[in-house]
Subunit: 137 residues, 2 copies
Amino acid sequence: MRANSKAEILKILGDQTRLRVTHLLAASKKSLCVCEIVDALKLPQYQVSKGLVMLRRAGLVEVDRNGTWGYYHPNMTDDANAALFDFVKDYCVGEPFDSDIDALTGRLKLREGDKCVVGFVPEKKLRNLMRKKGIAA
Amino acid sequence: MRANSKAEILKILGDQTRLRVTHLLAASKKSLCVCEIVDALKLPQYQVSKGLVMLRRAGLVEVDRNGTWGYYHPNMTDDANAALFDFVKDYCVGEPFDSDIDALTGRLKLREGDKCVVGFVPEKKLRNLMRKKGIAA
DNA sequence: ATGTTATATGCAAATATAGGCATATAGGCA
DNA sequence: TGCCTATATGCCTATATTTGCATATAACAT
């Protein structure tokens, strides 16, 4: 846990990209792979990655690495953080937050054994991939 | 209500001065006079004033003017705002937030008929003023 | 080894923000 | 009228932040 002031933490959330990432992690009950977040938010990979670094440095999220893959989840060991994530989950409604959740839900169907097994999947490919896997949209 | 994104609103709270002002308004059940906020936070008047302007433009607070005096209070007509203020009240604990509340509590004892009747009161004068009024610290 | 993929990071330009000071505005009061 | 006080604001400078691109790192596959 770092010595970030509450204001510094809120400032980190005061950015559309980082708030969308935070909301996705707060709303999803799973640890999310970076590529899943990138696909759900349809943002450049470096933006998501930089956002995650800031969230991690602020003690808000934690990462489990599995080879080159990184799974992020909220750090709930701190009560203030838990309250923050609860708040974000409820506060961030409407667009683009709702669509982000929808896109993530679809993307998670590509998992196998609850693990991410594909990298970045441009929207075009998603349909084909899911048909190939015999998964309904 | 303005068309501020959630991220824009959180960015406004992501500043120590504005967060302290917001917390003071969230925690106090009263409308607060600008000079009371300035005295409680011991910040330059222009900083508090600028902060209040930003909070007001974001639709977070409202002001009732009474002559030259301005009384600010959270704008609770919006459910998302109400949740935000609830969150801030609980999230902002420790310093300087606790001391801010203490200082405000003392400062509010100078009110008469629940109205602010003195302007800026440098800490030195506060004691004398309260003795003169026969109020316990 | 070589290539491919997932993720992180260094750098530079454009832009935004905070902080401070002085001053404006405007109401109350002598 | 003129003075005092409460509050707001314009301007400036220093500093921080965002964004985009290119590239680094590191694991894995062939």
